[in-house]
Point group: C2
Chain length 354, copies 2
DNA sequence: ATGAAAGCGCTAACAG
DNA sequence: CTGTTAGCGCTTTCAT
């Protein structure tokens, strides 16, 4: 007569192993098992081990929503996607999700995804998810310079982590790519090829990365002794169309640039198109460098040099960080940045006679 | 003295409205309220209304994991993404997720996402999610012709819905796009432009759509009185590289095709690249039509004609279907198909003298 | 260091 | 039709 396994239940729940089963098997009480499993300090080392081994053996795992009813925590990470008009994150999504869910599942967590089409709606989603205890904390993709999500969650004292950096780091953990370095590297790369007039098309100014990347570009130009021409800089380009438009503007400049750096690959695609339409051959007449070169289309373009970012590991890191915060570990040292990898796809020097 | 709202709790749970609060407010018992909320037939119409109105008013919503502990259902839909080597679904993901989560949230459901890198791992994810009661049912993207997921879930008697069709419809609900029609339309479109030798590059043979789309192509050719040359058909192209490779093969054919239809936009991009490298001008020397033209890159290519599919509504539909199944409504009539919209981006007739 | 007992928010027999 | 009474699987005082 083994521990209550024989009973036939109609539910697909099919007689899960419960905490009582484990307790019975060890001649202990539920409460002892519970405390052992949760690593309470008032349980004998020996019992801790016995219990954990037995749990393993019986394939016992506490039911998250049974614990949630007391603890309020569900072992689930929340992610609210914002599909703005320019769905900038589209291409980066699959890998990012894979990383998040991988990082989560390692720690026995799960990923709950919602999506919204406006700032307002995003906030409402957070509220709903919290209210129903569907998420213990949140991953915030695309950190904004003045981020309403941060404000909300900080005030509500809910754990969260950012993909991107934040001015006021209070209560923030984050993971970010050093886009500023990437931009600086791009300048060096082009300068080394003898380019002098290098344009820059920046991404959405509301995002935290824009300021950083502009600074990187400026630093690069300065350190290479190149002069910065304000007519060669465009800010706030989000879509491919924005990129095309900006490219036209740059190419109309007094002497046009011989190379253009884009903060974003979407934008780079737009530049590529606009330039091609004007008869410029990318890789001959004009060099283009785009950041975040995950976009398939960007990789399909010959001679479009890109930076590449591993969004999968970003996801893993962010999940891990968030779980730590949920578990109440201190928020210091929970901030990481990582490099972007340069992918030279055959950019060249300026056209002769420049 | 209102119903136990004054108590101060440390939890962020911040004194949620419970079923007892509602019961007290109405001088009823929890059980009556519960049954009223769940629309049991043995409750007076009048009380049903009173309860529901009051619940609304007090902003009461049953805690899903509190009910789950009894019912086993969590009001959450599961989605396990498969990131195969060719991450074919990448571009379609964001909109699809948005649709799913929209459809889910309308009915008070939530979306739980996991991801896996092999068939084996996918199955394990299902098992884990089920075991922990994290999902009441599943959405199965990219229906395969012999789908291990279907087998598992059917056997375990777990509700699921497919994006794509299934041979044996037993226990299956699905939503699908009529790709076969799209392929037929593409043939007509090209035939009307006077193309005669029209090649076809099909997608992964393991997926259900491949058979259908091939048939659509063949039907189209037949109904336009064009002869099908086996050397102008390539099967099982998944990646951009596959597409490029297939394109080379087709372009080497005795008389090469003047137009190529691709079952997939990834593949179309590969064709585009390969053809361009061989000096063919798409839209002049060669016409290319790609299905699923969601890919940003595909839209960036001039003169690449595509079909477009609204993956957002697909998501909404699938979520709705799944919820119905979870609620135990009959599985008949839970199968839909929808059309793909043709986007002509300036394809032309065959080069003169053809 | 462990057990006994109470209770989380909800559903589900079983009475009446 | 509605109230009574048990739990569901787990955590958490409070004793011991």
């Amino acid at each position: 007569m083994t521990a209550g396994t024989t009973q036939l239940h109609k539910d697909r729940t099919a007689m899960r192993v419960t905490i009582s089963d484990v307790a019975d098997a060890l001649n202990l009480t539920k409460s002892t098992v519970s405390r052992a499993m949760n690593g309470y300090p008032d349980i004998a080392e020996a019992t801790q081990l016995r219990v954990k081994r037995m749990a393993q053996e019986m394939n016992y795992q506490p039911l998250s929503h049974a614990q949630a009813i007391k603890t309020g925590r569900t072992r689930s990470l929340g992610l609210v996607l914002q599909l703005s008009d320019h769905d900038a994150h589209r291409p980066f999504l699959a890998e990012f999700l894979a990383g998040l869910s991988e990082g989560a599942s390692i720690e026995g967590y799960t990923l709950t995804v919602a999506s919204a089409d406006s700032d307002q709606h995003v906030i409402e989603s957070f509220r709903a998810l919290l209210r129903d205890g569907k998420a213990d904390g949140f991953i915030l993709p695309r950190a904004m310079v003045d981020d309403p999500r941060v404000k909300l969650l900080r005030d509500a004292d809910v754990p969260f982590v950012l993909f991107g950096r934040q001015q006021n780091p209070e209560g923030c953990s984050w993971f970010d790519i050093r886009g500023e370095d990437a931009m600086r590297d791009a300048v060096h790369h082009l300068a080394a090829l003898d380019h002098q007039r290098i344009g820059f098309i920046n991404g959405g100014t509301r995002y935290a990365y824009a300021g950083l990347r502009l600074q990187g570009y400026l630093d690069g130009m300065a350190s290479d002794g190149l002069s910065v021409a304000s007519e060669l800089i465009v800010e706030d380009a989000l879509t491919m169309a924005d990129g095309a438009c900006a490219a036209k503007k740059l190419l109309d400049a007094k002497p046009p640039p011989t190379a253009i750096i884009c903060a974003t690959d979407q934008v780079a695609l737009g530049v590529y198109r606009a330039a091609t339409e004007r008869g410029q051959a990318i890789g001959r007449n004009l060099s283009v460098v785009g950041y975040d070169g995950i976009q398939e289309g960007a990789q399909a373009q010959p001679a479009l040099t890109t930076f590449s970012v591993d969004n999968r590991v970003a996801g893993v890191r962010l999940a891990t960080l968030l779980i730590r915060r949920i578990r109440g570990e201190p928020s210091e040292n929970l901030r990481e940045t990582a490099a972007a990898v340069f992918l030279d796809r055959g950019s060249t020097g300026p056209p002769m006679g420049e």
